[in-house]
Symmetry: C2
Subunit: 376 residues, 2 copies
């Protein structure tokens, strides 16, 4: 931990980097996966379990928190860390992505966005300045600029317009954020699936000398290869000495391939959402516990895991809980999934230090491809 926000690269392997982000609330080992704590809770998990599986940082959704319980209310409760009982680093998104995907009656212009809450229809305004203000009220350690994220496929003119707007908003967010040594505000590279726009966006953001950079607007409907291509043109344009965060990504395979292209940080609802839908991520791939093949299977999800959810409960029991829609089913599978994601990140970090990421990635991918244990 350090008084100032800082990042250092500890080792590299090809384009992959192992590093450490240090800030007053703790150290984030990178490449890092951030569990999503949407509305001040990582769904169906106790925070000590989230920490226990190895998470150094979680993500909070500004949109959800501003609507309920409200940013000012969270501030009165001492900020999001105290409110949710997570004393370690928190990254918040800007709220922009959910305004676009969840809210009603949006109106976007140069100034910002006006929208109505999907919960009760109340009217809100979101500008770059208000987004940073809210993230400050939440006391977020890593704050994100407000941007406009376009769903793909989209027209080139539309992608360019949104990218240019996002750059102007990055500048306003930088001014609004000001000088906060222990915290960071990250800019977001946009540009859809257009390499030249991605490069322009990255270069313009680099010139702003921000403390970190995200790649946004990917994993929004395009094939995986398009996403990887965009990373290949974007990452070289970003400064080596700053962390790089790929927003909203992804599957274990997405993560592995993105790390190999220079990404340091990830967040995704996949492990938590899948856990509420009977799906388990394991080193043998994704397992659907709803499947009748598990009904009489006394074996655990993964006997070698050190996560109790993976190691100590039979598939038969998990199958029963999922079929019966019992809360414990979601609790155990979410726990298993976050544990698996963190284990994957730890393996990746270790392999980078050993200069063996290519081989390790092949081994990991082969195990996924071999699939689950044979039916009993």
């Amino acid at each position: 931990m350090t008084a100032d926000f800082s990042f250092k690269v500890l080792a590299t392997d090809g384009n992959a980097r192992r590093g450490e982000i240090s800030m007053p609330r703790g150290v984030v080992r990178t490449p890092a996966f951030m569990p999503v704590g949407t509305g001040g809770t990582v769904k169906a998990m106790y925070m000590d379990q989230v920490r226990g599986v190895g998470a150094d940082i979680i993500l909070g959704n500004t949109y959800h928190l501003m609507l309920r319980p409200g940013a000012e209310r969270v501030a009165r409760q001492g900020g999001l860390h105290d409110f949710a009982r997570w004393p370690w680093p928190i990254l918040t998104d800007s709220g922009g992505f959910q305004v676009m995907s969840l809210s009603k009656l949006r109106k976007l212009n140069e100034q910002g966005v006006t929208f109505r809450s999907h919960i009760d229809g109340a009217a809100y305004e979101m500008s770059p300045e208000r987004s940073i203000e809210i993230q400050g009220l939440l006391d977020s350690d890593i704050q994100m600029q407000l941007d406009e994220c376009v769903a793909l496929p989209a027209k080139p003119t539309e992608i360019e317009r949104a990218m240019e707007l996002s750059l102007r908003w990055a500048d306003r967010c930088k001014t609004a954020f000001g000088d906060q040594p222990g915290k960071a505000m990250f800019g977001i590279v946009q540009g859809g699936d257009m390499p030249d726009l991605r490069v322009r966006s990255a270069q313009a953001l680099k010139a702003m000398e921000l403390k970190g950079y995200a790649v946004g607007g990917l994993a929004v409907g395009e094939p995986q290869q398009v996403m990887l291509d965009m990373l290949e043109v974007t990452c070289p344009e970003l400064p080596q000495e700053k962390p790089r965060y790929l927003m909203g990504v992804g599957t274990p395979d997405d993560i592995l391939k993105s790390v190999m292209r220079g990404i340091d940080m990830f967040d995704c609802v996949m492990p938590t959402r899948a856990g509420r839908h009977g799906l388990a991520y394991t080193r043998r791939g994704k397992i659907n516990l709803r499947n009748a093949r598990h009904a009489d299977d006394h074996r655990p999800l993964d006997e070698e895991s050190d996560c109790p959810a993976a190691r100590d409960y039979s598939r038969a029991y998990l199958h029963h809980l999922v079929k019966s829609q019992e809360a414990l089913g979601a609790m155990l599978l979410t726990w298993n999934n976050l544990s698996y994601y963190q284990k994957l990140m730890a393996d990746i970090r270790e392999a980078i230090s050993a200069g063996a990421l290519t081989e390790r990635a092949a081994t990991i991918s082969e195990a996924w491809a071999r699939g689950d244990l044979a039916k009993l």
Copy 2:
């Protein structure tokens, strides 16, 4: 723990008894509250939390388990203890109560009940012998006779018929259960709100020399005073040296008053169900976390509790979780509620040993009546 099922009274205070039920899987300190683990899970709880709050025994619902995952399937998984990862004592009900309240197209005769599952409409038969067989497949430590429970108010002739049928079924269950030294089969006193029928039922069951006795058919719609009156006529007819179990009861106040009339064991869905509906049981009475008064309240439910759910989370956060229908809200409130119920039982046991139950009951009731902390 003992190889044989046994009960001993350690202390009495008026009609209240402090005791110990001992069996191969563990000791149950009485008066005891049994959390309800309906379908092989105490909803929204990890079993180590259930144990951690002080539960010595949990209840499993035969009706739910026979339908899903099925008793034979649980047996193949090593019984309910292994399946659900609760190695300590388990009591199962007979399934009769839920057949009457949940299933469709019931047909009851001397032989037993035929019914259709409320889940998928499949046809089942339940007889005294099949109920005991199923409870054996579950490997339940304390098994209950099949009985017919009549909702109150009911006609005297109907109450008497059901009571007499339940006695004949008790006899058949005793035969079916046979000689199992480490386990017990309890009979169930019926007779509705009619003192003479309650006495006849208790006397007939006493003559069968069972290992324990339940009082059934109460808390089914009648006023609390009727329930307490029935306990006052029933308990003196039951043998002093056998445990007495009041089925499906109840509120903390019901429990306190029933202990003072000679009851040793309780089960109820109230603490778990209330926990999923935003309600917290505390020493200051029942608290509705949905209430807006909690929205900005940084205080915990009970700063003196040793349960983390009660002590470490603000009411503001709990209010937020409940309003947002987050799983963690149900998880924390269920934990708090089971912790409070177990704390109440521990206080009651201690007071009985000290010969101070009347005073302690008054102190506890006064604290409930004073109610919650003043609004901030």
